[in-house]
C-alpha cells in the first residue's frame, strides 16, 4: 500500500510538472498566434496596435467596419477591435487590456445593438480566445461571470485547453514562430463576401412573435463608466447603431427601450449617437448576408458613409 501511494503521488507530481510546462509553452504560443480568434488579442497584448481610432463592439463592428476605408476618409490609423458574439462587459474588458499596452486612441467608434447591454451571463462565445490571458486578474474576474471556463480551468495548468487540439497545435507551433493559420484579418476587420443565407427565414419561423432583449443595469453602469472615461481622456466617442435589414425591425420588441436609453446617454454625456437603422441601405437585401450583418459590399458602402458623417461632425466641432 505504501509503495502504491508513493507511486501515485510521485506520478501525480510528475504529471503536474508536465502539465505546467506544456501549459506555459501553449500559452506563450497562443499569445503570438495569428489564428482569427486570437489575432486581435495577440496584437493588443503585444502593444503593436497604437491606433488613432478604435472601432469597438461586437460582430456589428467586426464584419461591417473596414479600418482601411476609415483611414482613407479620415486620414488616420484605425483598428477594429470588434469581438463577435460578445456583449459590452467583454468589449470593455478587451478595451481595458488594449489601454494597458497601447497608446490611447483619439477617437472610438462604439457600435451598439440589442445584445450590447445584456447581462454578463450565459455562454461566452469563443471563450477559448481568452484562455492564454487567464492569468490577468480582469480577464479572470470578467470571464467567471459566464459559462465557458470551469473552476479547474482557472486553477490547474493545461485544463483550459482541454478538448481544443487546434489551440494546442497552434500554441505549440506559434511558440516556435511557426504560424499554421495565416492572418486573415484586415486591421481587425473580416470581409464577409457572402450572399443572403436564408437564416432570417429560420429566425422568423422560430420567433414568430419577435424577440425580447434586456438592458441590464450593471452592464449600463460599466457602459456609462466607459463613456465617462473617454470624456475624461479627451477621446471622441461615437455611438453607432449600424443598419439591420428592415424586415427584422418589427421582431426587435424592445428596440424602443434601447433607443430611449441610448438617446438619454447621448444627451447626458454629450456623445453623438448615430442611428443607421432607417438608412436606405437597410432596404437593400443584396447588401446583407443575414438580417443583422452587411456583406462585404454593404460594409464598404456603410463604412464610407459613416466615415464621411464622422468627418463632418469632427469638422463642425473644430
Amino acid at each position: 500500500m505504501k509503495k502504491f501511494l508513493i507511486n501515485i503521488l510521485f506520478f501525480g507530481f510528475i504529471l503536474m510538472v508536465v502539465f505546467f510546462v506544456t501549459d506555459k509553452v501553449i500559452t506563450h504560443g497562443l499569445r503570438q498566434s495569428n489564428m482569427v480568434i486570437y489575432e486581435k488579442l495577440t496584437k493588443l497584448s503585444n502593444g503593436v496596435i497604437n491606433a488613432d481610432l478604435i472601432i469597438n463592439g461586437n460582430s456589428k463592428s467586426y464584419v461591417q467596419l473596414s479600418p482601411k476605408i476609415v483611414d482613407s476618409v479620415l486620414d488616420l490609423n484605425s483598428y477594429n477591435l470588434g469581438l463577435d458574439g460578445n456583449d459590452f462587459v467583454i468589449q470593455n474588458m478587451q478595451y481595458n487590456l488594449y489601454e494597458k499596452t497601447n497608446r490611447p486612441p483619439k477617437i472610438i467608434i462604439q457600435t451598439v445593438d440589442f445584445g450590447t447591454l445584456r447581462k454578463a451571463e450565459g455562454e461566452l462565445y469563443n471563450y477559448i480566445r481568452f484562455g492564454p490571458y487567464l492569468n490577468n486578474s480582469e480577464v479572470r474576474k470578467t470571464t467567471k461571470q459566464y459559462e465557458g471556463f470551469s473552476l479547474i480551468d482557472y486553477n490547474l495548468p493545461l485544463f483550459k485547453y482541454s478538448g481544443q487540439p487546434l489551440e494546442v497545435l497552434d500554441g505549440l507551433a506559434s511558440s516556435f514562430n511557426i504560424h499554421i493559420a495565416p492572418s486573415s484579418l484586415e486591421k481587425g476587420y473580416i470581409q464577409k463576401n457572402l450572399a443572403w443565407d436564408g437564416s432570417f427565414d429560420k429566425f422568423i419561423a422560430e420567433n414568430k412573435n419577435g424577440i425580447n432583449s434586456t438592458i441590464d443595469k450593471s452592464t449600463c453602469t460599466i457602459f456609462e463608466s466607459y463613456i465617462k472615461k473617454c470624456k475624461q481622456n479627451n477621446i471622441k466617442l461615437f455611438l453607432v447603431y449600424t443598419p439591420v435589414y428592415y424586415e427584422f425591425i418589427p421582431y426587435d420588441l424592445d428596440r424602443q427601450l434601447l433607443f430611449d436609453y441610448l438617446n438619454d446617454v447621448s444627451k447626458k454625456y454629450d456623445v453623438p449617437f448615430l442611428d443607421y437603422s432607417e438608412d436606405e441601405l437597410t432596404f437593400k437585401k443584396h447588401y446583407f448576408f443575414n438580417s443583422q450583418h452587411l456583406n462585404r459590399e454593404g460594409s464598404e458602402l456603410f463604412t464610407k458613409k459613416l466615415s464621411l458623417d464622422i468627418k463632418v461632425l469632427l469638422k463642425n466641432e473644430f
Binding site: F4, L15, F19, F159, G163, P165, L166, V168
Partner: protein, 486 residues
C-alpha cells in the same frame, strides 16, 4: 455520479482511504462502507430512486432466505415468481410502460378503434436494467440450488448496489461476486496498479474515442438527409466506435475501480471488433449480458439441443429480447433480429464455434483471410448499428437508402468549418492509434494491460503520461454514457 467527473475524482480517493485505512480491520464495516458509498454514488444522480434499489434488495434478500427454508416445490416456484414479478415489474413500468401503451393505441387505431390514454412522463432510473438482472441472477441461482442464500444483509446490499458496476455493469452473477463480500480483502499492489491502468484506458476510450466520435455521429445521424452516402457510412463507423468506446470504457473503469478495492469483476468486452464472425463477436461483446441471456433464457428454452426450428426460434428469442433489453423502441428489436439473422447461418451449419482462439495469436499481423473476415464482421456490425442509433425504423431505412446511392463514391464531408474538419481528422488519427493499441493488447484483459510486461518503469510512466495528456487535450465534449439510458 459519472466516472469522468470531478465529483468522482474526489469521491474515489475518499472511499479508497476510508476503505483501506479506517475500516480495514472489519469486513462488515468494509461492506457497510461499500453500501454507503454506493448509495451516495447513485443518489448523486437522483436520491429518490435509491428506494427502488433498497426495495429490490429487500425483496430478493427475503426471497433468498425464504427459499432456503422452503422445500415445497410449488411454494418455491411462487417465491421465485414473486422476485421475478417485482423486479421485472419495476423494469416494465419504468422502461416499457409508454412503449406498450403507444403500441396498443396504434394497434387499436389500425383496426378503427380509438383509445384515449395518456403516456406518463416517467423518468427511467439509471442502471435499472443492470441491477435488476443482477439481483434476478441471485434469486434464480438460489432457486436452482446452485447458490447458498446469504444471511448477511449488508453483504447482499453491497452485492446489489456495488457502485463501480451499479449503473452500467458488468452484470455480475451472484455466484461470482457475492462470495467476494464474505472474504477478507487484502490490498494487492499488482492488482491495484493494473486497476489504475484499466481505469486510465477506460477514460481514454470514453473521453477521447467515444466522446469525439459521438460529436460527428450525432451531426451526421441528426441531419442524415443532408449528407452523401459516403458521409453516412462514416457516421455509422463513428457510431460503432462511439458505442464501443463508451460502453467498454465504462466497463474498464468499473473493473479497474473494483480492483482497487480488491474485487474481481468479469470481463465485459474482449476486443469485439477483431472478431472473425458474428458468433465470435457475440462472445466478445457485452459478455455479461450475452452470458446472462444464455444461462437464464437460451438454455432454459432448450438452447441448441432441439431440432432446427427450435434452434431458430431460440436464437430469435434471445437476440430480440436482448435488443428489447436495450430500450423500448422498435429499432432495438430490429437490431436484435438482424443479429439473429447474421448468427443463424453459423449456428445451422455448426460453424458458430469456429473462432474460439485469439486472432493471429503470436503474430504481429493477421493473415489476409483473417483480415477480410474481420472486415466483413465489422461491416455487418456497423450496418446493424444504424438501426440501433436511428431515431426510428423509418429513419434507419432512409439512412440506408441514402447510403445506397451514387453519392457513396463522393469524398465524405459533413462540415464546411475548417476547425471541425481539422478536429475530425484528429479523431480519425486517434481512432487509428486506438485500434493499433487494442490490437497489441488483444491477448490481455484490457488494451494496455500488456504494459505490465515492460520492465522499464520510465517507459511505462512515459506512456501513462502520454495517455493522460491525450485525455486532457483530445477529450471530446462530455456526453452521458450511452448505456445509462438502458
Amino acid at each position: 455520479m459519472i466516472f469522468n467527473s470531478i465529483d468522482f475524482a474526489i469521491f474515489l480517493p475518499i472511499v479508497f482511504i476510508l476503505y483501506w485505512f479506517v475500516v480495514n480491520r472489519s469486513l462488515k464495516l468494509q461492506n457497510a462502507l461499500v453500501v454507503v458509498a454506493s448509495y451516495v454514488f447513485y443518489g448523486w444522480w437522483d436520491w429518490r430512486f435509491l428506494s427502488l434499489i433498497l426495495f429490490s434488495t429487500l425483496v430478493d434478500y427475503s426471497v433468498g432466505i425464504a427459499l432456503s427454508k422452503q422445500e415445497d416445490q410449488a411454494k418455491r416456484k411462487a417465491l421465485l415468481w414473486t422476485s421475478i414479478l417485482v423486479n421485472l415489474g419495476f423494469l416494465g413500468f419504468f422502461k416499457y410502460y409508454n412503449f406498450f401503451l403507444d403500441n396498443f393505441i396504434s394497434a387499436f387505431s389500425f383496426f378503427g378503434l380509438e383509445i384515449q390514454a395518456n403516456s406518463l412522463h416517467i423518468i427511467l432510473p439509471v442502471g435499472i436494467s443492470f441491477y435488476t438482472f443482477q439481483t434476478l441472477s441471485y434469486t434464480i441461482d438460489v432457486y436452482k440450488r446452485k447458490l447458498e442464500p446469504t444471511k448477511d444483509f449488508i453483504a447482499f446490499s453491497a452485492f446489489v448496489s456495488f457502485f463501480p458496476q451499479l449503473v452500467a455493469g458488468p452484470i455480475e452473477r451472484a455466484k461470482h461476486l457475492l462470495p467476494q463480500f464474505y472474504k477478507k480483502r487484502t490490498f494487492e499492489y499488482d492488482k491495484a496498479v493494473d486497476g489504475m491502468r484499466q481505469i486510465l484506458w477506460g477514460l481514454f476510450k470514453k473521453m477521447v474515442i467515444a466522446d469525439n466520435c459521438a460529436e460527428y455521429a450525432n451531426i451526421i445521424f441528426n441531419n442524415s438527409t443532408e449528407y452523401s452516402g459516403s458521409t453516412l457510412i462514416l457516421g455509422a463507423i463513428f457510431f460503432a466506435f462511439q458505442i464501443y468506446g463508451d460502453f467498454s470504457g465504462y466497463s474498464d473503469i468499473a473493473i479497474g475501480t473494483s480492483r482497487l478495492f480488491g474485487f474481481d469483476l468479469m470481463q465485459n468486452f474482449n476486443f469485439p471488433y477483431f472478431s472473425r464472425d458474428i458468433a465470435e463477436f457475440w462472445r466478445r461483446w457485452h459478455i455479461s449480458l450475452s452470458t446472462w441471456f444464455r444461462d437464464y433464457l437460451y438454455i432454459p428454452l432448450g438452447g441448441s439441443r432441439g431440432g432446427k426450428w427450435m434452434q431458430i426460434r431460440n436464437t430469435f428469442i434471445i437476440f430480440i429480447v436482448s435488443g428489447f433489453w436495450h430500450g423500448a423502441n422498435w429499432t432495438f428489436i430490429v437490431w436484435g433480429a438482424l443479429n439473429a439473422i447474421y448468427f443463424l447461418p453459423l449456428l445451422l451449419t455448426k460453424n458458430n464455434r469456429n473462432n474460439l482462439n485469439i486472432v493471429a495469436k503470436g503474430k504481429m499481423f493477421p493473415s489476409i483471410k483473417e483480415f477480410l473476415m474481420i472486415l466483413l464482421t465489422f461491416s455487418l456490425t456497423v450496418f446493424a448499428w444504424i438501426f440501433f442509433r436511428a431515431e426510428n425504423i423509418t429513419h434507419a431505412f432512409d439512412y440506408i437508402n441514402a447510403i445506397a446511392s451514387s453519392s457513396i463514391f463522393e469524398i465524405p464531408n459533413f462540415s464546411n468549418s475548417s476547425r471541425v474538419k481539422f478536429e475530425s481528422l484528429i479523431t480519425i488519427l486517434l481512432l487509428f492509434v486506438f485500434i493499433v493499441v487494442e490490437w497489441l493488447g488483444r491477448n490481455e484483459q484490457h488494451g494496455i494491460a500488456f504494459l505490465r510486461h515492460k520492465k522499464s518503469k520510465g517507459l511505462r510512466w512515459s506512456i501513462y503520461s502520454v495517455i493522460v495528456l491525450a485525455i486532457t487535450i483530445f477529450s471530446g465534449s462530455s456526453q452521458e454514457f450511452i448505456y445509462f439510458q438502458f
